[in-house]
Amino acid sequence: MAGGGTKSHKLVSYAKYGYMFILPFFLVYGFFMIWPFINTVLLSFKGNGSKVNEWVGFQNYSWLLFGDKSGGRFATGKVHHDAFFDGFGTTVILWAGNFIIQIVLSLLLAVWFSDVRIKIKGTGFFKVVMYLPNIIMAASVAAMFLMIFSNTKYGVINSLAINNGWIKDPIPFMSNKWMVRVIVMFIQAWLWFGNTMLLLLSGIFGIDPSIYEAAAIDGSSGSSTFFRITMPILKPIFLYVVVTSLIGGLQMFDIPYLMHTGNDPNDYLNTVATYIYKHFHKFNNFGFSAAASILLFIVTVLLGMIVMRFNTDATAPKKQRKK
């Protein structure tokens, strides 16, 4: 009939224009994402230093993952294995440290801001202010904190403490392994807690207020409302926050890289990403750099799969329970 005719006609035109409209995206995506990715995979099978054009198979991977047992203490495979895993360890430490501070703070704030009984005034203002650190450039943040925590007596904290007679010699913040790491954890948490808070807040606002009302009528305390109602319903969003933060954290680069004064980045802040950058940009070790990138990619994909899994699992049983 006429309806059928129009339908098929519609299909033709929509498909054609549809593909044309999405074409630019795929062109850009192919050129800037797919091709570099393929190129990185190819590079990861090639050598390093003067052997960048030689095909070495899985050598970069095996050295990065398992080291080179045949060589001495300073064999290429051994030192790169150590550097890679050291970077990985540092990355996880820096991420975990920042995430604990960040999640506690943002969860607390999100709960307070959403609690109708507390009625905080000017939540809009606070939300904006707390999100602000996130929009400052990493370079500026690093420069600012370098100034505050400088090792020398000219640093903000050191000069304050010395001038007031609290300490005699300046505290070497930047060259103490744990002090500098804690500083970076703090910076990362400070940069991101606003963002995380907004995500959690939107999750909490999604919870049906009648549940809270019922709990209040039943005399539920604040903590049991939080643990029995808010947290279980918030779980998918919470997991999403954890895993996206972990993925972002694995690629942590800017602050750790920028927190140094001399020529070379601070040794206690070597992450996987700074390892990749260093060997790609400064030395001609493209093979190691590419292999490390691919390994990082695999870990990220695995984490991504886990979050998908959690998300579906968390909703599926609930539906069953409702029945």
Binding site: Y19, R73, F74, V79, S140, M147, T152, Y154, K177, D267
Partner: protein
């Protein structure tokens, strides 16, 4: 389904046509510009490639320009560039638009990696200004640079140059790759007021007596510490000490393809530790920072080791910053309009009654700009003229040195040139002391292309050792070794 296939075909043709456009666009672009040098290198009959020709070279008359512009690669904070280009253009009547400064990297350190990326692209490049620390990296790269003999320039044309500069400019094969117009020995610059107060020193000659060798230098440091209760350190930075001591080497860092820790470097680790532990230097002060300028300016340190280019006395030079001092201020952050950051802002004028210079405990050099010729060079005639203008022509060199306070790479000239330093007390002429110091610098064949990175890696480990972050010297050396092995897979690093 058919429609989908059709759409895919449409999409594919669109991609291909776009790609086609792009290809033809770039290739036509490169035909007009950068592909010419490649053609000239292979097909030009006027320059029969003089391979491995020890000292024989192309006669100057055979050199031709195939391009109008002489493109010189240099980093963007190289303050010599404008002076050189202006003087060359004024004297030879060359139009300034014919000489192009291709800025690569912000500083000498950045340029090291940036040149490589640039040279592998399509951009025009005739000459490369390389820092002494890494010039060998390019001098030994046959794919990127050509020997000076192809420009008709040979080592024999530099009988009066300071010998160490020729050593820096010669590659592993013994080919002369990079001449320079400057020699860069250094002196010990000190605060004369502090020296008078605590060491009873009136003149630079008397000061020199107190720092004439390392044993005396250390004795003076100890005396200074005692007199001032540790408030004044002998020398501003450990990095400054390392700049001086790395000129002591008697062996190469790399022998064949094996990394060798030299005895002198090993001794330096002990020396740096001793200076730190005795309070003769503040290990936490790094070079090229506001703190560095401040530590000399506010009299926390007696002095610092300064090379020729830091002694010129113009605003921005090391001695100027030391003499002027500054204040920590909140300044507008250029990267972030509307926000401020803490910065040590150097005052506009420098004190002229503060600093003096003496030779110091040993002769040494730091940096220097060496001129390499790119393999893509297509203006050989002008390039050769430019190099000879500043590195061979005595009159030009004299004028340049006199005007800018640059220490020129010619022994005869430097005996005659005098300079009234705008910052040092009484306009002290640093050239007088430098001339004899430059002659004594002898690297004895120890220069390699790995030097700048190895020097940095080694000193990074030594600094950590001094700060107590690494507990023993052996651990520090092991750390330096693993850093070096990590950076250079081509090197064998043994226990």
């Amino acid at each position: 389904m058919k429609k989908r296939v059709l759409a895919a075909v449409v999409a594919a043709t669109a991609v291909l046509s776009l790609a086609g456009c792009k290809d033809s666009g770039t290739s036509s672009g490169s035909n007009s510009g950068a592909s010419t040098p490649a053609a000239s290198n292979t097909g030009d009959s006027s320059t029969p490639a003089p391979t491995n020709s020890g000292d024989e070279s192309v006669p100057a008359g055979d050199l031709v320009d195939e391009d109008e512009t002489l493109s010189i690669l240099s980093w963007s904070n190289n303050e010599d560039m404008d002076l050189l280009i202006n003087m060359f253009c004024d004297k030879t009547g060359t139009d300034k638009s014919k000489i192009k400064w291709v800025k690569q990297g912000d500083s000498g350190g950045d340029a090291k990696t940036k040149y490589k990326e640039y040279l592998k692209g399509n951009g025009d490049a005739d000459l490369l200004f390389c820092d002494a620390g890494w010039a060998q990296l390019y001098e030994n790269d046959e794919d990127l640079v050509i020997p000076m003999s192809e420009l008709g320039i040979t080592k024999s044309q530099y009988p009066d140059a300071y010998p160490y500069t020729l050593e820096v400019g010669t590659n592993e094969k013994g080919e002369f790759m990079a001449p320079t117009w400057q020699a860069t020995p250094g002196l010990f610059v000190y605060n004369a007021k502090l020296a008078k107060e605590h060491l009873r020193v009136e003149t630079p000659e008397q000061m020199q007596e107190l720092v004439k060798d390392w044993a005396t230098f250390e004795a003076t440091a100890a005396k200074l510490k005692e007199k001032t209760n540790g408030a004044v350190k002998m020398v501003a930075t450990e990095a400054g000490l390392w700049q001086v001591k790395q000129c002591d080497k008697t062996a190469k860092w790399v022998n064949g393809d094996e990394f060798v820790l030299t005895g002198e470097a090993d001794k330096f680790a002990d020396m740096a530790k001793k200076y730190t532990d005795n309070g003769w230097v503040d290990i936490n002060i790094g070079a090229w920072s506001g703190e560095w300028w401040a530590t000399v300016a506010d009299e926390s340190s007696l002095g610092e080791f300064v090379p020729t280019w830091g002694l010129k006395g113009n605003p921005g030079s090391m001695v100027f910053n030391f003499a002027a001092g500054g204040t920590w201020q909140d300044v507008e952050d250029p990267d972030n309009p509307g926000q401020t950051k803490k910065e040590y802002v150097i005052n506009d004028s420098a004190a002229t009654d503060k600093l003096s210079a003496c030779a110091g405990p040993q002769s040494w050099y730091w940096g220097g700009t060496y001129i390499c010729a790119s393999k893509k060079i297509n203006t050989k005639k002008t390039a050769a003229e430019f190099i000879k203008f500043f590195t061979q022509n005595a009159d030009n060199m004299k004028e340049y040195g006199q005007k800018n306070g640059d220490f020129m790479n010619n022994k005869n000239i430097m005996k005659e040139v005098t300079f009234k330093n705008p910052v040092l007390i009484g306009g002290q002429d640093q050239f007088k002391i430098l001339a004899s110091e430059a002659d004594k610098v002898n690297m004895g064949g120890t220069i390699t292309k790995f030097d700048s990175d190895i020097n940095d890696a080694f000193n990074a480990a030594v600094t950590e050792f001094c700060k107590g972050e690494i507990s023993s010297k052996d651990d520090a050396i092991a750390k330096a070794k693993s850093k070096i092995a990590e950076a250079y897979p081509d090197l064998k690093v043994k226990d």
